[in-house]
């Protein structure tokens, strides 16, 4: 830190100078549109909104947005998702082939380099994956390699969970038998079972390579990484900024158009927004609710406003482990049909969300219209009542007060209350059950109650896709015992169908089977789809060409400085 101090002051004053210049420019050009020089043009630096990553620059240990975004800036993966279509395209890989979706041969492009000059090799990939999967390394992304042969030899589970006194046994090996280096640029991955979606998965950050430098000193690497992406790491001032600069050795077809990106951290979305409006910040993907209200942001930003879609969906889930609140299928369907998704998205979100009639995001491979949920996700008070009566006739008496739970530390109260109201109105006053929104103070507590399966009522769930494929919205959420199957839903037929889809060799056939599996969710209706997230972002008047990825973050290769 001592070394960084001087540099920080210099950067601080540079920033101040820029700010002053920006003020001057803004002041003189209030009349005309393109007048005044562009302060960004001088040194090719742009400022985008960021936040402090929880873990440093080790792609296999990252599972939150702040760290994920910045790692996408500096590490390149085998696959990259197209910013417009979300289609997976080859990036570091020259070819990824498999005759049976079980044994994959991955060839790297020649001439790829790390920022310390060493070449990117097949060994870098194999080493990185083994390191991440090896459970004593306690990497957050370890489970991603669960499908690779030999995973059970490197990852052991704590027999009584983290709360128990026993410790996890030491794994048999620190190398997965399914990974094999063929030559400098080729490696082979053997999976335990065919997995059609494996190729698409490879664009996720956890599948990045790690250079030899990492293994020499993993602790130091965290805050001063050697990288291989379009941008390379310059410095990280904690809680304040991360600076990356264009990598001259980057071999991708699309090159960075700016010299430097300063990833500026804000504590408050409103502060970032104020900076955006006054052109001190060049990009933010978080427009605060105060600006979204009444579409104020559109009049503030004009043609600098960016609207789009992102691969995030909102659902509410029933606790199937709880007799009183789990209800029966007819009750759950009744609730779903009693929610007026269209009105809520219009009134509360200003059309910033799109009503869902299926369990997957409209952006991904495998989405179709009309959605799998069909009539059960359409607002129909009469039918909702009918199903409620059916549910009662089948012997289920809902409790007098039925809560919908959410975490109170984010902006959920409004839509949860609106959803509860919508259900109450549809059911009518003599339904014998009243829905109410209830808050758990913090997200930490909320997750605690969910993972210990003590939820009494519907609870807010959501899913942000890891990669754009229908599989990512089904397997982690609805398979028996899956990691994020928070309502403890279990359906043997669905499991079998998902397995069929997982192991299908033909991608189109696989997707068709996933769609069939999705349709089977209407039977039990254990989770109710609500809406998918739109994207609201904005840029300053100094930049152009800005694209936002389906993951809701800036595509760093797209941003360019406007010519004055």
């Amino acid at each position: 830190m001592r070394v960084a101090k001087g540099a920080q002051i210099v950067a601080g004053t540079a920033l101040l100078a820029l700010g002053v210049a920006a003020c001057g420019g803004g002041g003189s050009s209030t009349g005309g549109s393109g007048g005044g020089s562009n302060p960004r043009a001088a040194d090719g630096t742009v400022f985008i909104r960021g936040c402090e990553p929880q873990t440093g620059f080790v792609p296999g240990n990252i599972n939150e947005v702040c760290g994920g975004t910045i790692n996408q800036f500096v590490f390149d993966q085998l696959i990259k998702y197209n910013s417009d279509t979300a289609a997976p395209e080859l990036s570091q890989a020259e070819s990824i082939e498999s005759p049976d979706n079980k044994v994959w041969t991955i060839k790297l492009k020649p001439g790829l380099k790390w920022s310390d000059g060493s070449p990117v090799t097949a060994k870098n990939y194999v080493d990185a994956w083994n390191y991440t999967a090896y459970s004593p390394n306690a990497q957050n992304g370890g489970w991603w390699f669960g499908g690779v042969e030999g995973y059970s030899d490197v990852a052991t589970e704590d027999p009584d969970g983290p709360d128990g006194p026993k410790e996890a046994p030491k794994p048999k090996s620190d190398k997965m038998s399914g990974l094999e280096v063929i030559d400098d640029l080729t490696f082979k991955v053997t999976l335990t079972a065919p997995e059609a979606v494996f190729r698409t998965k490879l664009g996720y950050t956890t599948f990045s390579a790690l250079p030899d430098a990492f293994f020499k000193d993993p602790k130091a690497f965290v805050s001063n990484p050697v990288t291989n992406g379009a941008f390379k790491f310059v410095k990280w001032d904690h809680n304040s900024q991360i600076v990356v600069e264009a990598n001259p050795d980057y071999v991708g077809t699309e090159k960075p158009k700016v010299k430097k990106i300063v990833y500026k951290m804000y504590k408050d979305d409103d502060a970032a927004y104020a900076d955006l409006v006054s052109n001190n910040l060049d990009f933010t993907e978080l427009i605060p609710p105060s600006a979204l209200a009444g579409d104020k942001w559109k009049s503030d930003l004009g043609d600098r406003a960016i609207e789009g879609q992102q691969g995030v969906i909102q659902t509410v889930t029933f606790p199937l482990y709880d007799k009183e609140f789990g209800g029966n299928a007819d009750f759950r369907k009744a609730v779903s049909m009693a929610i007026d998704r269209k009105t809520i998205t219009e009134k509360i979100f200003n059309k910033g969300r799109t009503p869902l009639d299926g369990w997957i995001s409209p952006l991904v491979d495998g989405y179709k219209t009309p959605g799998a949920c069909g009539e059960f996700c359409a607002y129909d008070p009469a039918k909702a009542k009918e199903y409620l009566d059916k549910a009662k006739a089948a012997g289920y008496t809902p409790p007098k007060e039925y809560p919908i739970w959410y975490n109170g530390d984010s902006a959920h109260k409004e839509w949860v209350d609106a959803t509860a109201n919508s259900i109450n109105q549809a059911f009518g006053p003599d339904a014998g059950v009243t829905f109410v929104g209830k808050a758990v103070p913090t997200f930490a507590e909320f997750r605690d109650i969910i993972t210990t399966h003590k939820m009494k009522g519907l609870f807010r769930t959501g899913w942000q896709m890891d990669y754009p494929h229908i599989e990512n919205f089904l397997n982690p959420l609805f398979k028996t015992g899956a990691g994020s199957n928070d309502g403890l839903f279990s359906d043997k037929e669905l499991d079998a169908k998902l397995h069929e889809a997982d192991t299908a060799t033909d991608p189109a056939d696989s997707i068709a089977k996933y769609q069939e599996a999705e349709a089977m969710l209407t039977k039990e209706m254990n989770a109710i789809p609500l809406w998918s997230f739109g994207l609201q972002a904005g840029t300053s008047k100094w930049v152009t060409g800005v694209k936002v990825t389906p993951f809701g973050v800036l595509d760093p290769l797209s941003i360019a400085i406007k010519e004055a």
Binding site: L15, D158, S223, N239, S240, Q241, K267, A274, A444, D448
Partner: protein, 308 residues
């Protein structure tokens, strides 16, 4: 007075011990696992939770944890936070910024508040008195975040006079508006306190005596009246120093100032006691020292007050 100061300083030790223990205990009692929320909608891997708990000693009883905390504190080693970043370096970066902001706020509060209070107290019922009474009423009725957003929007976004947010090193010039916002509420209190006390003391015996002795008006007001009238205002300013610093959370958020307010806010949200406990302890220390300073200043202002 020296002995008094030393005695007061010694008293700090048990108070600090007690408060740090309480803070440790309360953070420990916060519901929810600090590591459960770190993996979004997915449960964190057991291996990760185990490793984190062992690293931060969460698997040990609270007394043992507190003992480790004290030991580390005395050896000056604050360790790393949950994000594996040195706590000491984060404090070293943000603390001076908050102190600068706080001191600027105190200065603004004292200078403007006292001057306004004296002026309106001396010309009671006059035009200036009315102006000051009304403007302090406005400041008193606005919560800090309203003043903050209002000035940011007006001066930063609309008029383009300042940058809406403060840049990295938090230079003096950029902190003027945030410091004013932070001081605004207390400034109004100070002005009103000073005004009332000036009005009261103007009718007191010693002022009448001073005037009867034939002292110049300037000397009567400047030395006799002012010195005695400042005691309530000083008490107020002194006790508010601590709350100014902890209250900076809102102001620092609005203007994106990289001070301890933001650090504390994030740490509380993350249940990151490695940051919460040192900051809270520092704030306690600031409170205690500010109170001590005020007590000592009493003696300077009013010779009748003596400490033995």
């Amino acid at each position: 007075m020296g002995r008094y100061a030393i005695r007061r300083l010694l008293q700090l030790i048990p108070v600090l011990l007690g408060t740090t223990f309480l803070i440790n205990y309360m953070v420990w009692q916060l519901p929810g696992d600090p590591f459960a929320a770190r993996c979004g909608q997915r449960p964190c891997p057991d291996a990760y939770i185990n490793a984190m708990r062992a690293e931060f000693g969460l698997d040990q009883p609270i007394i043992v944890q507190y003992w480790h905390f004290l030991k580390n504190l005395l050896t000056g080693d604050l360790g790393v936070n949950f994000n594996n970043v040195s706590v000491a370096s984060q404090l070293a970066e943000s603390w001076p910024i908050t102190v600068r902001l706080g001191l600027m706020a105190v200065a603004i509060e004292a200078v403007i508040g006292i001057v306004a209070g004296v002026l309106s107290g001396l010309k009671r019922g006059g035009f200036l008195d009315n102006v000051i009474t009304i403007s302090t009423l406005i400041l008193l009725s606005l919560p800090v975040f309203v003043t903050g957003f209002l000035l940011q929007w007006l001066l930063g976004v609309q008029l383009d006079l300042i940058k809406p947010t403060v840049s990295d090193g938090a230079p003096f010039v950029e902190l003027i508006v945030p410091a004013f916002v932070l001081a605004s509420l207390n400034l109004a209190f100070t002005a009103r306190l000073t005004r009332t006390s000036i009005i009261e003391n103007r009718r007191s015996d010693y002022v009448r005596t001073a005037i009867a002795k034939g002292l110049s008006n300037r000397r009567v007001v400047g030395v006799h009246l002012l010195r005695n009238s400042l005691i309530p205002a000083l008490t107020f300013i002194g006790t508010e120093v601590g709350s100014l610093m902890s209250g900076a959370i809102i102001t620092e958020g609005i203007y994106n100032i990289n001070g301890i307010g933001g650090l504390l806010w994030r740490a509380v949200n993350d249940h990151d006691f490695t940051i919460v406990v040192p900051i809270a302890s520092l704030l306690v220390l600031v409170y205690l020292l500010a109170n001590l300073l005020v007590d000592l200043l009493y003696g300077v202002l009013d010779p009748r007050i003596r400490y033995e």
